[in-house]
């Protein structure tokens, strides 16, 4: 082995205290970055997952500022013939005044988002139906499913109770309709439809006098990576200029929700990188101590014929050992935490379960960064070491 590498390795591995302190500093910085990534990237991915499952699908089709007049039956059939498409379902987002009578007492009118779904197709394209904790999903014409928040605001009507909704149809006339509660949804986090109510889309079409019309179609893909292709294929078959169709991938459809979150993640990552910077300062300090304690050895090396650059290399190698051990330890700790988070479906205070992924690219990138920082942090102490003169070997004491 190269003698400079050998000395660098021996210098640091035979000083357990310095080695542990320096590599822990590196490891902890990596752990912080990884835990941040598991939690915040996990939260982001969980939100994307729920937005796909509950609201938008992988591809979201709508029409600019208007209802889709083309038959949803035709569109769904057309979409489901595309190989990557698993299912598609029509929806209408509307709103109504709602009131309910609990124990003979009237709870006052309340504005609530109303979602019209196709009882059969929606079960294939969305997992909304799985969020019904109590009762069942929308089925017959005057059935209604209440979101947990809507249910609370209405004074906790139960399955079997009756609620009355007041709609304005497309001509501006008030339409009153009575529904029977068949289920109550409960989702973790804020992405579900807990503040809404869900009814049969055909009932809604009838009430607002828009027979056959649809507001959006959510498309679930068997291969989510093909979302751009499906979107482009749809738009080329139903040109947006003629039909005024709009097709969006999940990223585009949920842009507003996601962009804020993304900048939050960027900020959190910045905090992680500041952690890395401070670990680099710890490495500088420990390396300076190493150089001081090895003054005589450096003098001896120089007296025996080592050049200044050889001394430099010894301490750079030492930094590489610190970086490698720190990165290894940090990765192990980080991966252990990631596995734990994934296996336990980690959540925080009943919020949505994190969508934990093994992001090896980011892990390797963090490792390389930490390793490089440890080496860079060694440059100044190593340079200081080269400034020591060979006479140091002769110093008394």
């Amino acid at each position: 082995m190269d003698y400079r590498a050998q000395l660098g390795i021996r210098f640091i591995t035979r000083r357990k205290g310095s080695l542990i302190a320096a590599s822990l500093a590196v490891a902890i910085a990596i752990l912080v970055v990884q835990v941040n990534s598991v939690i915040f990237q996990g939260l982001y991915d969980a939100i994307v997952r729920d937005l796909i499952n509950y609201r938008f699908g992988h591809v979201f089709i709508s029409r600019q500022e208007d209802f889709i007049t083309k038959s949803s039956f035709v569109l769904v059939n057309w979409l489901e013939r595309i190989p990557y498409v698993e299912a598609a379902a029509p929806r209408i987002d509307y709103s109504a005044q709602i009131n309910s009578t609990v124990n003979g007492q009237l709870i006052k009118d309340y504005a609530v988002p109303v979602i019209g779904v196709d009882p059969v197709l929606d079960r294939k394209a969305s997992t909304m139906y799985q969020t019904v904790g109590d009762g069942q999903y929308v089925s017959f014409r005057n059935s209604i499913v209440l979101g947990a928040i809507a249910d609370r605001d209405l004074g906790y009507p139960k399955v079997g109770d009756t609620v009355k909704l007041k709609f304005k149809d497309q001509h501006g006339n008030d339409v009153l309709k009575r529904f029977t509660v068949v289920g109550i949804t409960k989702t973790a986090g804020s992405v579900g439809l807990d503040n809404s109510v869900i009814i049969n889309i055909d009932t809604l079409r009838e009430i607002i006098d828009r027979p056959q019309q649809t507001q959006s179609i959510i498309v679930k893909l068997s291969d989510p990576t093909k979302d751009e292709q499906v979107k482009d294929f749809f738009l080329s078959s139903f040109p947006s200029n003629a039909d005024k169709f709009k097709a969006q991938t999940i990223e585009e459809a949920a842009e507003l929700t996601l962009s804020g979150f993304r900048s939050g993640i960027a900020l959190i990552n910045l905090v992680g990188y500041f952690g890395m910077m401070s670990s680099a300062f710890a490495v500088v300090t420990i390396q300076m101590m190493q150089v001081t304690s090895k003054t005589r050895d450096i003098g001896v090396m120089r007296a025996l014929g080592s050049k200044r650059k050889d001394v430099l290399l010894v301490f750079i190698f030492q930094g590489m050992v610190i970086g490698a051990i720190g990165a290894g330890l940090g990765t192990v700790l980080g991966v252990v935490y990631t596995v734990y988070a994934k296996e336990t479906h980690l959540t925080f205070q009943g919020s949505l379960a994190l969508e934990v992924k093994y992001n090896w690219t980011s892990i390797v990138q963090t490792d390389i960064l930490a390793f490089v920082l440890a080496v860079i942090a060694s440059i100044y102490p190593a340079y200081k070491a080269t400034k020591l003169e060979p006479v140091e070997a002769m110093r008394v004491g």
Partner: protein, 232 residues
Amino acid sequence: MADYVLEVQNVDKVYGQGETAVQALQNISFKVRKGEFMLIVGSSGSGKSTLLNMIGLLDRPTTGNVTIDGIDTSTLNDNQLSTFRNSKLGFIFQFSNLLSDLTVLENVMFPRKIQGTLQSAAEEASTLLKTVGLESQMNKFANKISGGQAQRVAITRALINRPAIVLADEPTGNLDSLSAETTIHLLKSLNRKLNQTFIVVTHDRPQFGDVDKVVTIRDGKIVEGELEASLR
């Protein structure tokens, strides 16, 4: 005229500047032949170590020249001086000067590792260690052997590159009298056996008995008339 392995000419060394300047050496000149055993003696603070540092190219004279093996070292740059020290000089210091993170054998081979001539280095190193009776300690770390053993290891390390001169600054200063005697005996026998030039600083002139040459320093100057040269 015989070839000189070392020529010191009009060497001055001044530490510091202005009012605090210390003239550690003044107009030092002498010559050493190959194979000579030379002592530098003098009282504490007289400038012995300073002179040895000049000869060992660990520090540069303020003025004057040090010529080793016919090469005027004042013309060499820092890297060339390192290479020169490695191939032409061997060092034995007073205090533990082994690298404590290397084994005894690795310490002895160290000058070879720097040189990059590792072929048969391990065998030569262990042969040398055998001659000083330390073959059983070869794989111990350098901080796990006694002071006297460490000095013997340092001697073998100084010899591994077959240098022109081996320099020693108070090599027995830190040893008990028995280890000191062993060390001196070893140095003198190596001098004879290998025709190896030694320059040794000591404050205990009598310990060394008969030697080829003695330079006495007082207040940074050679004391004339006390220049012993038993072979002249």
